[in-house]
């Protein structure tokens, strides 16, 4: 191997970069001043009076590579940036969003339908006794009951107890009526239970019915109660 000093001048910086392809790959092409390198390379050859065509060829090839690298980077930069999404005017209202249409099998079977029928027929039985007044049900209490604040506080519990009582009557296959519910109670207790009953009706735990020309109130379990029980 030749000692360092005997190696041709162009193997030394700054020209060595043109003669070392590996180095060329690693370096940022923008840091390479080709015109300076090539001019000084030619001047140096003239100065030393050593015209080496092979070295010139390699220098030319390397310069072309650096140019290619530079132009590739330039092209990359010039790729049009993706346009920002169009800014709509503040009062822009988009068109309706159309939901995709998909068929979906439901879980309801004829079995479910008939179980539901059984339930429906059970309730019907209770009504068959009287002609109901058209669609009439009791409206919820309007907050006109005086001196019931303590009582209201425990309303939830009272409702639960009364509903249980109604349920047990119906479960025995008997007809739940108000007079039956409050049988043997004092007047004030009857009023109290009547109010609770209205709350239950308001929450759809029970439905209340009255037939024409009668004071009796018929009670059936409402949807809330039946659903709750099923769960």
């Amino acid at each position: 191997m030749k000692p360092e000093s005997e190696r041709p001048f162009y193997f030394h910086p700054p020209w060595n970069i043109l003669f070392d392809p590996q180095m060329l790959e690693k370096i940022d092409p923008w840091k390479i001043n080709l015109s300076f390198l090539l001019l000084s390379f030619l001047e140096e050859m003239e100065k030393r009076s050593v015209i080496d065509f092979r070295a010139s060829g390699i220098a030319l090839d390397s310069s072309a590579t650096v140019y290619l690298m530079k132009s590739k980077l330039l092209l990359k930069l010039e790729e049009p940036p993706s346009p920002p999404p169009p800014k709509p005017s503040p009062d822009y209202v988009p068109p309706p969003l159309i939901l995709p249409l998909r068929y979906e099998l439901t879980t309801t079977t004829i079995q479910n339908l008939l179980e539901a029928l059984e339930d429906a027929l059970k309730t019907e039985k209770i009504f068959r006794i009287r002609t109901p007044q058209r669609g009439e049900s009791f409206s919820p209490p309007q907050g006109v009951i005086p001196q019931v604040s303590i009582y209201l506080m425990e309303m939830e519990e009272q409702m639960r107890i009364l509903l249980q009582k109604i349920r047990s009557i119906i479960r025995r296959g008997e007809i739940a009526t108000f007079s039956r519910l409050v049988k043997g109670m004092k007047k004030i207790e009857q009023v109290r239970d009547f109010i609770i009953l209205l709350f239950l009706a308001h929450r759809k735990k029970v439905s209340l019915w009255q037939s024409e020309g009668s004071d009796e109130i018929y009670i059936t379990l409402g949807e809330g109660a039946i659903d709750g029980e099923a769960r």
Binding site: T106, T108, Q111, L117, A120, E124, S137, D227
Partner: protein
């Protein structure tokens, strides 16, 4: 369908046929129930029953050729339906998660099916005033229909209802079917009930 004259300008016509067959497929898919020729005709914009049936049969044949999990069938009354083949139903049924109706409206529907034709008044008196809302929903879903008779509103189930539950379109037969299955359930229910409660 156009005859195969290769030189004539067949393409647009073929495209039109293909488009109409696709429309029939779309209709059957979305409906999920048998559709009659009139309904299918209203979708593809044709009144010729012969033509509509021909197109629907082409779709049916295409499905036969595909031999996949879905099939198009022609029912006795010239209605067509797109459905899952029975072999596959048991394997994928558990993926269905939503009921057709919640408990309340389902009970009202069952009641109407059993008592039909039944006055709205009677339904309300048997099911409570909340049944007004159920009836509205059932009408919207096309499961029942309502007609006026003098001062009364009469409710009955639709053909779609019968199709959905696999019941006869004949009201008398349907009521018998319901009664029969109901008594089966009742007998079975007596044994099952104790299990369910736990």
């Amino acid at each position: 369908m156009g005859k195969p004259d290769k030189e004539g300008n067949e393409e647009p016509k073929e495209d039109d046929v293909k488009r109409k067959i696709s429309l029939i497929e779309a209709a059957l898919y979305v409906a999920g129930r048998p559709l009659d020729l009139k309904t299918l005709g209203s979708i593809i914009g044709s009144r010729s029953k012969r033509k509509i049936r021909e197109l629907a049969r082409m779709l049916m044949k295409e499905y036969q050729k595909r031999n996949s999990s879905l099939e198009v069938l022609e029912l006795e009354d010239q209605r067509f339906v797109l459905q899952l083949k029975a072999d596959y139903a048991s394997k994928v049924r558990r993926l269905a998660v939503k009921p057709l109706l919640t408990d309340g409206p389902l009970r009202t529907l069952a009641y109407i099916a059993y008592r039909q034709p039944v006055s709205q008044k009677q339904v309300i008196s048997a099911r409570g005033t909340h049944a007004y809302k159920h009836i509205k929903q059932l009408l919207e879903m096309g499961l029942i229909e309502r007609k006026r008779f003098g001062r009364n509103k009469i409710l009955r189930t639709t053909e779609y209802f019968a199709d959905y539950f696999g019941l006869s379109h004949n009201p008398a037969v349907m009521k018998k079917q319901i009664a029969r299955i109901l008594s089966n359930i009742k007998n079975k229910g007596k044994n099952d009930k104790t299990e369910k409660k736990e």
